[in-house]
Symmetry: C2
Subunit: 424 residues, 2 copies
């Protein structure tokens, strides 16, 4: 997809052709936007000082951004200073905004985030999405999306981009409209754009783990280069390198659930043996804790047949908190396996941090000690401070927040994209 | 280091300030240079057509590049065409050039590569570098470098950049002058710039595995995103992502030798258990083949105490070719362990290819079958064609070629760097 921050439309680096005056203006609009976003309120003179642009250039660029509804200019409070008060530039909190949507196995979510990164609308609805036709799920989601947009309009906001988080694979190359495979929903090659009931534009789709990682990058504890591992229905992994989501050449990067942690060990749903998923996936933990029965067949794809609990992660956390020895042991074993896999990720790609997200964040208290012990044992060729492994503060909200933030970040990195054609 | 192609000096994307006319010219000089490099000979009109720049702009840019000694213009042969023959632009094969240097445990190498990527000078000298003072090794290397530069001058070339490949870790952040740790040389915190005897500028230093991977990217079979694994003294790993070497946040990315392949298995020189190195490192293979004795202590750091052969890789290849069952079995086991580690790299990074380089390339015939079988068993969530694993055509020459090519590539990506100050 083009909206995930990987290739901001105005980024000259992505261009192969000659630099033009229009490119320069577009780049400088982005520079002003980023400068105000990083430290507003700022006066026009402050912007000139921080960017190195002339005051005349700044004024013209600022006027264009105000005209586009991206910036506001008001009275600047300068307590204790003498002289005429300046005018202050701030991001327009009631201007363009991003809509984030999420399809989970048992819920639908929507949220609207404004240009300042604040969540202004947040809706959540239980929904039995596993196994029902994609059309039905998308129809219900479209209603929720319309309600969220209505609420946003009532707040003075204008939704200019829509992104949907799905628990499945989204191929590269497509314009982010097709879900290749979402086993826990029973989706296979679902074209969201085609099935979207309207009115309103269909959302671009992206994998939930990737969006969770982006949310972590933009609003959580993730630094520029980190590995994000999350438990949704499967195990989601994502690599953020130098502030960008890394997809790999076919969109399969970050498959942490299928790293071999116990060679010749348990058979995984993927067909290989010894993968992380049959040791640390949610289904494996529930079985090992005695909360659900052993499955008939091999592998970790135990959902939904073997699931009794409406919110198994909350159930695990509750029992662990109460001191249930089976649950605690199951989480400890999962933590060790997670540590084995993440040690490989650290040795391969030298991240600043590891972030435990999604459902794992709610279980961090019982997972982290075993993970830290395993990491300390296996990472010896470089320093590895134990605090470099962190639980996400966003937890299970990550994917839907990330979906909305994609649009907000795009507006920051290429504000002129609102009124200029997509850069080639 | 700034010379490894990661941040070409003229790349506007790396800049934080406003775009200026000088930036535009610098970027357009690079565009013309890259265009000619990709498909010379070209006429000025061809360059205009391919870049989208006006003919007037192209002429001014071409004149500057000719003035800088980077391009030459001569008669264009246009067989079968009518009309006035055009003038043809080509890269200047007798202009600025790159010097590559290499320190191995038992040799020193130097080579000079011209702007067209052709090796013009190549020198190799046996040298017992293990354990002797760094000053001595660097003094001998400086002599070899001077001889290579003299030969280059005699050919009409001018060396404008020097890079040294070392079998050790080079920290990020330093300007590529300090070797943190090169255990097989006995080097610890060696400042090459400080110890360089002169005359002539000291080379920038970079890890040999990284340079081998860059050589593979630029002249071998490596595509834009691949994992390079090589046997030098240890196991060298490097990640090339979207055409750039990925260092990680502290410069430790690509530590394939320390991925866990056999949990709770053999103790590695790093202190962890079950790493790849004690299963597939050169010392491990030599022991397992019965060519050297078992070491007294744990781990793979068997060099040089346990080494009898002057060229153990050639010795392994010779015996395997002759049908020595012990050697073949040792290589098969090493191949399986390499496959386990590389499967993790594929599941994490989703590369286009895996490249077996350095000494492993000379042993590929006996390593590849076991590697391919292991990869096929462990990579199940994505397609993995067996030909995506390849042996490098550069083999053990990779690092020194990569070292010289760093300068050549920099001249292609930022030709104006020769006469303008480094871009900020």
């Amino acid at each position: 997809m083009t909206e995930d921050g990987q290739q901001p439309a105005g980024d000259l680096a992505a261009r192969r052709g000659p630099a033009s005056q229009q490119d320069m203006r577009r780049q400088n609009l982005a520079l002003v936007m980023r400068t105000v976003a990083a430290a507003h309120p700022l006066s026009r003179a402050d912007v000139a000082g921080r960017t190195g642009l002339t005051r005349t250039a700044v004024s013209s660029l600022v006027d264009e951004l105000i005209g586009g509804g991206l910036l506001l200019e008001g009275e600047l409070e300068r307590s204790g200073r003498v002289g005429r008060p300046g005018r202050a530039l701030v991001l327009n909190g009631n201007g363009p905004a991003g809509l984030g949507l999420e399809i989970g196995v048992e819920h639908l979510s929507a949220c609207v985030i404004d240009l300042r990164g604040e969540v202004r609308v947040e809706l959540h609805r239980p929904a039995a999405n596993a196994g029902r036709p994609a059309e039905q799920t998308l129809a219900e989601l479209a209603e929720l999306a319309a309600r969220a947009e209505d609420e946003a309009v009532a707040l003075g906001l204008r939704v200019v981009g829509r992104v949907l988080a799905v628990p499945g694979s989204v191929p590269l190359g497509s314009p982010g409209r097709r879900v290749e495979h979402a086993p826990n929903l029973g989706w296979h090659q679902v074209d969201v754009t085609e099935l979207w009931p309207g009115p309103g534009a269909a959302p671009a789709v992206e994998n939930e783990a990737n969006l969770g990682a982006l949310a972590e990058l933009w609003q959580g504890t993730g630094s520029g280069t980190f590995v994000h591992i999350s438990a949704g229905e499967g195990i989601g992994g994502a690599l953020v390198l130098d502030g960008r989501l890394f997809h790999g050449v076919q969109g399969f990067a970050g498959e942490l659930g299928h790293l071999t942690v116990r060679p010749q060990g348990r058979t995984c749903s993927c067909g290989a043996r010894g993968c992380l998923e049959p040791y640390a996936g949610l289904a494996a933990v529930l079985r090992s804790a005695g909360i659900v029965d052993e499955p008939d067949g091999p592998g970790g794809a135990a959902y939904p047949a073997h699931r009794q609990e409406p919110d198994p992660i909350a159930e695990l956390a509750r029992r662990a908190e109460e001191g249930d020895a089976d649950v605690r042991r199951a989480l400890e074993h999962a933590g060790t396996a997670l540590g084995t896999a993440l040690a490989a990720a650290v040795n391969l790609f030298d991240p600043a941090t590891l972030v435990l997200g999604g459902g794992y964040a709610d279980l961090a208290k019982w997972l982290l000690p075993a993970m830290r012990a395993e990491l300390a044992g296996l990472i010896r060729v470089r320093p590895w401070p134990e605090e470099a492994l962190r639980a996400s503060p966003l937890g299970r909200r990550g994917p839907v927040l990330g979906a909305a933030l994609v649009t907000v970040r795009r507006l920051h990195s290429d504000p002129a994209g609102l009124w200029l054609p997509e850069a080639v």
